[in-house]
Subunit: 201 residues, 2 copies
DNA sequence: CTAGCCATGTAATCCGTTACATGATTGG
DNA sequence: CCAATCATGTAACGGATTACATGGCTAG
């Protein structure tokens, strides 16, 4: 008998695929961004604190979306300016985006090089561990001022983008996490110093 | 003239490589874990909240470490038990591990599917956004109780592992972050409800 | 003239997971 | 006998970055 007949539940396991880039691009299309170049800039400038995307992902993805009918592409050649491909989302593109949006993201396996190093802290001296933490603390501080910059740029002109309230939520997330990191850094530095004096005794 | 002569600064740009798995494995060797299998178990059970590793990484890495003289391998065949390869770190392995430990990790590009979805929240109704946040909130809660489990297992028997104090630091990190996430979730739910009533007006 | 920005795209490569293949032992 | 656990490993695949290749326009 052919496999998979008879209503067996073994219709082939649903396979996990990531597809993050696909929907990031589709979402940016839905914001009205028209070129791959503009999307890269937008990722760097606005989404940098929680998303990244490279040309190597963006351009092939755009092509694929067009192939699947989720976007359209029109060439624009202007005299005196380089050629551009102008993309736009279609209604089936909007539909697929909405469907993706309501699916709760499954927890993605986190890898923190900092915590990995810290967990082996016993192999080096306390000073090295403390430096690790202080560097991280400084990075968080830099991140915080970067986030503030984006936030003021977002609030300054009173003309509100439709997505502005949601962008503010992501910014608050970045701030909340960085502040928690800072608190943990201070706490951890204290623990490291305690460990150090215990060791010396 | 041969390229690279004359002290040119173009000695080939130093190329970024990730190498996380390599040092995770080396570190676990330094803790005394002897088999690939044991390392996988340890990652799942103890490092799960900040690191992950698959067999597809572990076994080839172990072989590579032996090739480079950072570890040794001895076959152990016991009657009535399956064969094992027992690995041990060498002194050059310890040296390389220590060198890696003191290099501050460069910030790794974060990707949060949750924040990406939230940033496009305008495309779906407020209820869908709130569900996204509530699900995340629950996940954080589950993570917190999982962290507590590990912590009590770590504290229970008074026989302290040399790495115990450092593991506690990583656990506190997990807790700090999850608690900050929870606070942000509540704050954000409030904002979403406000947005909703504004829209309705 | 040249540096920098606009703009597109591809190929190589790396990193990592999943799925598969194998097989012995132990406990219920 | 069967499921779980111990134990090793590889092949295929997928996702993402990096580096390269190209080229015209603009401002200094």
């Amino acid at each position: 008998m052919a496999p998979g007949a008879n209503g067996e539940p073994s219709v082939s396991p649903p396979k996990k695929r990531r597809l993050g880039s696909r929907y990031a691009v589709l979402g940016m299309l839905s914001m009205g961004l028209k070129t791959g170049y503009a999307m890269k800039k937008h990722v760097e400038g606005n989404l940098g604190h929680y998303w990244s995307e490279s040309y190597g992902q963006i351009y092939p993805t755009l092509r694929q979306l067009v192939d699947e009918g989720l976007a359209t592409c029109t060439e624009e050649r202007r005299k005196g300016k380089p050629m551009r491909n102008l993309y736009a989302i279609t209604s089936s593109g909007r539909k697929e985006l909405r469907e993706w949006l309501v699916v709760p993201p499954e927890p993605q396996p986190q890898r923190s090089e900092l915590l990995l190093k810290l967990s082996f802290g016993d192999r080096v001296d306390s000073e090295a561990c403390q430096k690790l933490i202080r560097d991280h603390s400084q990075q968080c501080e830099r991140d915080l001022s970067y986030l503030s910059e984006i936030e003021s740029a977002l609030l300054e002109p009173p003309r509100k983008h439709r997505d502005q309230p949601y962008w503010l939520m992501t910014l608050r997330h970045g701030r909340a996490i960085r502040e928690a990191e800072l608190a943990w850094c201070n706490e951890t530095l204290e623990h490291l110093r305690q460990l150090e004096t215990e060791r010396k005794r």
